[in-house]
């Protein structure tokens, strides 16, 4: 059996309605769970970038990237192992304000984790932590005993260490 690994798939696309559905359908067909997904603008005007994290074999991720790339509105798709990219995720924690004073330990946890305070109000305060999934999970575990009012974590975003030749690809297109 081929070993499974975490792969980050980067997809450059046109900004078209329904493309997310087309792309996710390719994973559904192979019964692959998407670990995280993020869609945003990219470094190129009007070009979107999907970052999808999956845990599967290299054979399958190659096949999937091929099938994603052949979607008409997809400009280019790549896949990378963790060692080939710089990546992070962000967590948001909403915590009751009184805990900051009642539980002095919380202040230390925030300091040690290099989390940032986003806002403080009379009732609650919000801290944010960006980094690897494990770092955010560690902060979550540390804060959990004191009570977390709300917690959310974004999908992974990443940039590749190597160049991706999207701009030249688009420039080469002569309509």
């Amino acid at each position: 059996m081929e070993e499974t690994k975490t792969y980050t798939i980067s997809i450059y696309t046109e900004n078209s309605v329904g493309l997310l559905n087309r792309i996710s359908g390719i994973f559904v067909k192979r019964h692959i769970n998407i670990e995280s997904i993020n869609v945003s603008e990219s470094e190129i005007d009007h070009v979107m970038r999907f970052i999808i994290v999956v845990h599967t074999t290299e054979t399958w991720v190659k096949n999937i990237v091929g099938q994603i790339e052949k979607q008409i509105d997809v400009i280019r798709a790549y896949y990378h192992g963790d060692e080939e990219i710089i990546y992070l995720q962000t967590g948001l924690f909403k915590i009751a304000s009184h805990l900051l004073f009642d539980e002095r330990q919380i202040q230390n946890i925030i300091k040690e984790s290099h989390a940032q305070i986003v806002t403080v109000s009379r009732e609650f305060f919000v801290i944010t932590k960006s980094g690897r999934k494990e770092e955010i999970e560690a902060l979550y575990e540390a804060l959990k005993p004191f009570g977390i009012m709300q917690f959310v974590r974004t999908g992974r975003v990443s940039v590749s260490k190597a160049e991706m030749e999207i701009s030249s690809l688009l420039k080469a297109f002569i309509h």
């Binding site: 696309t13 046109e14 309605v17 329904g18 559905n21 087309r22 359908g25 067909k29 054979t59 190659k62 096949n63 091929g66 099938q67 790339e69 052949k70 008409i72 509105d73 997809v74 400009i75 688009l170 297109f173 002569i174 309509h175």
Partner: protein, 577 residues
């Protein structure tokens, strides 16, 4: 019988004019050279039908009896002619009835443009009458799809639809047009689509890969070609012929590639796959270089992948990069247009003959002939075989007919035994295996190639899935020949039940109506044959008929199709009985 032909000199340069969205759709179709489309009207597409009425002297709309019939007819038209097939339907159930045909066209790479009506823009998402999210539903089964919500989008999107459907690896495109967009007026201007920046239809061929492929072929002792539909889609029949003749390499075909090289070509060694010929299947696992041309290593072709052609160097000529290494690892992938690739390859190849190797194919055929083919084509038992019917049609049509088969035993028998003299002669649902495909596809095939004899070969099961299209044939006065091979069973499923489920014939026996009476109800001349001595004359009457003709042949009930590679077995474990 005269088939309505439409004048082709329709002006493509429609200069700016103020038209409704519905009328714009017609101008787009005309500009794309469409002469025939298949469809079924309904509420959300009525403005376009109103325009079809006005343009009926330029565009031939065929009213089928079900939207599935419309799309299969469009597929038959596209498959026989190489042009884009067009189907039209209303929203909701009209649109969902297209889905099977879309899936069929997607998996068999058939160029189609389907236009569906949709509820007005302001009603979208409100669960309005006959609203369905056909764009969402059809996403996995279309090469591209799009919902138009304002008239001004129509020219650009339809131009793009035709471009995408026909370019590169072809496929079906669905365009959903809201009713308000059909009514709105705008200044119409049309220009053909020549490219889409996020889409590369034909990847560039790497010369080094061609050189590597040529080197492997020149060195090979036991080279073997398997070609697929890519040869037909890429119009590379002449190049294929030149290739096999220069190199003397035995060549076999997948079902979708049938007829690209004439059946009687000495180097045509038959069909690969589950019910293909014995020699090409077994020898796949003995060749030293496997040259795959425009085929995708479907599981029905390869059997068990772990034992498929492991000894061979695999050269894969393919237009779709996603097919490379998908199922079979390619030692030398050659991306690009297969016609150009073979043209580039030919000068690099040495002239050769592989007589001893070719001889092993002939020996394999002789073995298969003794154990299988003789009994299929020249049976000594009482009951009629499907094979002798196909053989009779070969004779009566002088191998010139377009054979349109449905799905099941009769399909395998048709593909095995039909003799093809020219390309685009075998139309069948290969990838999806859609029962009910043949009858409507034969309508489209006859209209796409009116000069050719078109024979639909259908089982008694599949026939009843789209039997209502007899009405279309009657209304059109279309001289399509229909052969039902009646064994009162869903034969292929019954065969599997016999071989693998200890003869538990769960829901495969059919009590059938009087098919002859039904055909006659549609005013189609019809007869039934159950005796060998009557068969040839009946086939002769059918082929000679200049109108539609229905022939039911009562064949042996529990006959099996052999050879057979059992599901999951290796190609060299093919069974002759």
């Amino acid at each position: 019988m005269e088939i309505k032909t439409i004048k082709k000199d329709v002006s493509t340069a429609v200069s700016q004019m103020r038209v409704s969205g519905a009328e714009a759709v017609i101008h787009c179709l005309l500009a794309e050279g469409v002469d025939t489309l298949y469809g079924y009207p309904g509420g959300a597409i009525m403005p376009v039908y109103d325009e079809l009425y006005k343009f009926s002297d330029q565009l031939n709309h065929v009213l089928t009896r079900h939207e599935q019939g419309a799309i299969h007819a469009a597929q038959g038209y596209a498959r026989v002619s190489g042009r884009v097939g067009v189907a039209m339907a209303t929203s909701g159930p009209g649109a969902t009835n297209l889905v099977t045909g879309l899936a069929d066209a997607q998996i068999d790479s058939t160029p189609l443009v389907c236009i569906t009506g949709q509820v007005a823009r302001h009603l979208l998402g409100s669960d309005a009458f006959q609203e369905t999210d056909i764009v969402g539903i059809s996403m996995p089964v279309t090469k591209w799809n799009y919902q138009i919500t304002k008239a001004s989008e129509i020219p650009e999107i339809i131009a793009k639809a035709f471009y995408i459907a026909r370019s590169g690896r072809p496929g079906p495109v669905l365009i959903d047009i809201t009713k308000n967009a059909q009514f709105e007026e705008f200044d119409f201007e049309y220009s053909k689509c020549t490219g889409v920046r996020s889409y590369t239809p034909v990847p560039r061929t790497d010369k080094t890969q061609l050189e590597l492929a040529a080197e492997a072929i020149n060195k090979a002792k036991k080279p073997f070609i398997v070609w697929g539909q890519g040869i037909l889609l890429g119009k590379a029949e002449a190049e294929l012929k030149a290739l096999v003749e220069k190199t003397g390499i035995p060549a076999a075909w997948t079902i979708m590639g049938a007829s690209a090289l004439p059946s009687d070509h000495p180097l045509n060694v038959g069909m690969v796959g589950m019910h293909g010929n014995y020699a090409p299947n077994v020898l796949t696992n003995q060749c030293d270089v496997l040259i795959a041309l425009g085929m995708r290593f479907d599981d029905r072709v390869t059997g068990d992948l772990n034992t498929y052609a492991k000894q061979a160097k695999v050269l894969h000529f393919e237009i779709d990069p996603a097919e490379i290494n998908k199922n079979v690892k390619a030692d030398v992938p050659v991306l690009g247009d297969v016609k150009e690739s073979i043209q580039g390859l030919l000068p690099l190849l040495n002239e050769k003959k592989h007589e001893a190797w070719h001889e092993t194919f002939k020996e394999g055929y002789a073995k298969e002939f003794e154990e299988v083919i003789r009994h299929d084509l020249f049976p000594e038992k009482d009951g009629l075989t499907m094979g002798e019917v196909i053989n009779g049609i070969n004779k009566a049509s002088e191998n010139k007919a377009v054979m349109v088969s449905d799905v099941g035993q009769h399909q395998m028998i048709t593909c095995r035994y039909a003799r093809f003299a020219q390309s685009h002669s075998n139309i069948t649902s290969g990838g999806l295996g859609t029962m009910g495909f043949a009858l409507p596809a034969a309508i489209g095939a006859k209209m796409g190639a009116p000069e050719r004899e078109v024979v639909a070969i259908v089982g008694d099961g599949g026939y009843q899935m789209t039997i209502q299209e007899l009405g279309t044939i009657f209304q059109l006065g279309l001289p399509v020949k229909i052969v039902v091979l009646n064994n009162e069973f869903l034969g292929m499923v019954r065969q599997w039940q016999q071989l693998f489920f200890e003869k538990r014939y769960a829901s495969t026996h059919m009590v059938n109506p009087d098919f002859v009476t039904i055909a006659k109800g549609y005013h189609i001349p019809a007869e039934r044959v159950s005796k060998r001595e009557d068969l040839d004359a009946a086939i002769e009457r059918m082929i000679k008929s200049d109108t539609a003709y229905f022939l039911e042949v009562v064949v042996e009930k529990e006959d099996n199709v052999f050879p057979m590679i059992p599901s999951g077995a290796s190609v060299d474990e093919i069974r002759l009985k």
